[in-house]
């Protein structure tokens, strides 16, 4: 079996000897609720989402072989907070109390979700979406909706900036992505950027939260 994949080189960096190389794993997609493929790099320091460029009627020649599956897999870094957010919201609904993270991020259907807790900086960014308590040496977390909306709003702002820099067509006109025009056209407003960015961010959060974010 083989696949064609484009990923940052850092995915396969092996600092020293380690058996914990990059791992493809299925996790709970926070938007659809279904299983989707993700990648953890060495020692699960970073999370990546796996997307595929997929058009009909393609296959690959790879050296002296033919591969029926004509997808091109693309691996891009993803903020693990999006993944953890689902479990925080769930815990808030079910328990409504402060809990240690390793008791929040548990999933019988996707046991490798615990690898999310190894991601670098996750713990230092949790405060964007949670209230924290420290008892002894242990930290306890509880979902905070207002903080989360504020954090997501920042994500939307960052996305708007990226859309403008990337000259992505966010206007109402349908236009081929390979068509290079002089600009967005006079009919594109700031609201269009925000709506588009909200839509993109919504791909990574539950539907209810997306609706709240839209109102926010």
């Amino acid at each position: 079996d083989q696949w064609v994949l484009v990923a940052p080189e850092s995915v396969t960096d092996l600092p020293g000897k380690t058996e914990n190389g990059p791992v493809f794993t299925r996790l709970h997609n926070p938007c659809t609720g279904e299983a989707a493929l993700y990648l953890f790099d060495t020692n699960a320091q970073q999370l990546f989402e796996v997307k595929a460029f997929h058009e009909d009627y393609h296959s690959w020649f790879i050296d002296q072989t033919v591969q029926h599956d004509g997808r091109l897999l693309l691996v891009t870094p993803m903020d693990p907070l999006f993944m953890v957010l689902y479990y925080l919201i769930k815990a808030e609904k079910e328990q409504g109390k402060f809990q240690p993270l390793d008791q929040i991020v548990i999933d019988a259907d996707f046991p490798s979700c615990s690898m999310l807790l190894q991601c670098a900086k996750l713990k230092s960014f949790l405060h964007h979406v949670t209230d924290e308590k420290e008892i002894g040496n242990k930290k306890f977390y509880k979902y905070n909706k207002e903080k989360t909306l504020k954090w997501l709003n920042k994500k939307v702002d960052q996305t708007v900036r990226a859309l403008k820099i990337g000259n992505v067509n966010v206007g109402p006109r349908v236009q081929s992505t390979t068509f290079i025009s002089g600009g967005q056209g006079s009919d594109v407003k700031e609201e269009d950027y925000i709506r588009y960015a909200h839509g993109l961010i919504s791909e990574y959060i539950p539907k209810e939260l997306s609706e709240d974010l839209a109102k926010y």
């Binding site: 796996v50 997307k51 460029f53 992505t177 588009y196 791909e203």
Partner: protein, 307 residues
């Protein structure tokens, strides 16, 4: 006959022509058109024209360029030599159409069938003669498809020229016989000197006559078949003989314009129906499938659930 250009690159088409005799520019001429290699599944098809002044038709007849189908390869060579020696009043031109060109024309999305290809090639050669200053007043040609339609096509294209489309024209008109000789000699040479681009390893070149109903040819086709790539470019993929072998023994391949619902036609085959215009705009989506954000589906990007 110098086919070195075609020997170097036998993937497209190649034109050859003799110098135009001065007398053909000064006097009214008749021009004959014929073809060679229409039926075989192997090798190129060649269209040829031959022209001479009306006043010298008797001299052309005296060369005894008879119905070339009855002649051996060696006899055809000899007659072509005679035509060359008569270069003071006989001119000729050829278009060699490679098997690759024939196959791709017949199988591309906007189908270009063999009859249209033949008509266009013939007309292009007549135009070449006119452009070179030959005073063509009469054209004789064998039927390709319905005779009346071909005649009308030629008359519309060359209104100043008297056109005669007749079955078995090569046995009726010496100038067509002469064109037939030129075309057949060219095909003989092209086939004999064919350079295979593909590495065919130890495959024996014993392919028989090259005609579809020749068991030796069919056997050779089966032997040279690659399950992914099909045949060498010496083979006309668009011929049903070739397609049947691919159907049975090659891996299924589907193209964007393959027939709807088909399991997949082999390497050479494509559907013949015109796809709906709508099929170019939307991919069908199951009713329950959630559509991702336009950023992703405009770029053909989707979430991966499984490898």
């Amino acid at each position: 006959m110098d086919l070195s250009d075609f020997e170097r690159d036998n993937t497209g088409s190649c034109r050859l022509s003799s110098p135009v005799p001065e007398v053909c520019r000064a006097e009214d001429c008749c021009l004959g058109i014929d073809e060679a290699g229409r039926g075989p599944v192997l090798g190129p098809m060649v269209y040829g024209i031959c022209f001479c002044p009306l006043s010298r038709l008797g001299d052309l007849e005296a060369l005894k360029v008879a119905d070339s189908k009855t002649l051996s390869e060696a006899e055809r060579e000899r007659l072509f030599g005679k035509l060359e020696q008569a270069r003071d009043f006989v001119g000729w031109a050829l278009d060699i159409l490679s098997p690759n060109l024939i196959s791709t024309s017949m199988q591309r999305r906007a189908k270009y069938n063999l009859n249209s290809l033949s008509h266009d090639t013939a007309m292009a050669l007549v135009q070449l003669a006119l452009d070179q200053g030959v005073r063509v007043t009469q054209v004789f040609v064998d039927t390709v498809g319905p005779a009346d339609k071909y005649q009308q096509k030629l008359k519309e294209r060359f209104p100043e020229v008297e056109v005669t489309v007749r079955p078995k024209a090569d046995s009726l008109f010496p100038v067509v016989s002469a064109a037939s000789i030129c075309a057949k000699v060219a095909r003989d040479h092209a086939v004999k000197r064919w350079k295979f681009l593909e590495d065919l390893k130890d495959l024996k070149m014993d392919y028989g006559s090259g005609y579809p109903n020749d068991p030796k040819t069919k056997e050779w086709l089966s032997q040279c078949l690659d399950p992914v790539f099909g045949f060498p470019q010496f083979v006309r993929f668009s011929w049903s003989t070739a397609q049947l072998i691919l159907d049975g023994r090659a891996v299924p391949v589907r193209w964007e314009d393959s027939e709807e619902g088909a399991g997949g036609s082999p390497a050479a085959g494509r559907g013949s129906g015109t796809p709906s215009l709508l099929s170019y705009f939307a991919r069908t989506q199951a009713a329950t499938e959630r559509q991702s954000h336009r950023f992703f589906h405009e770029r053909g990007l989707e979430t991966v659930a499984d490898l």
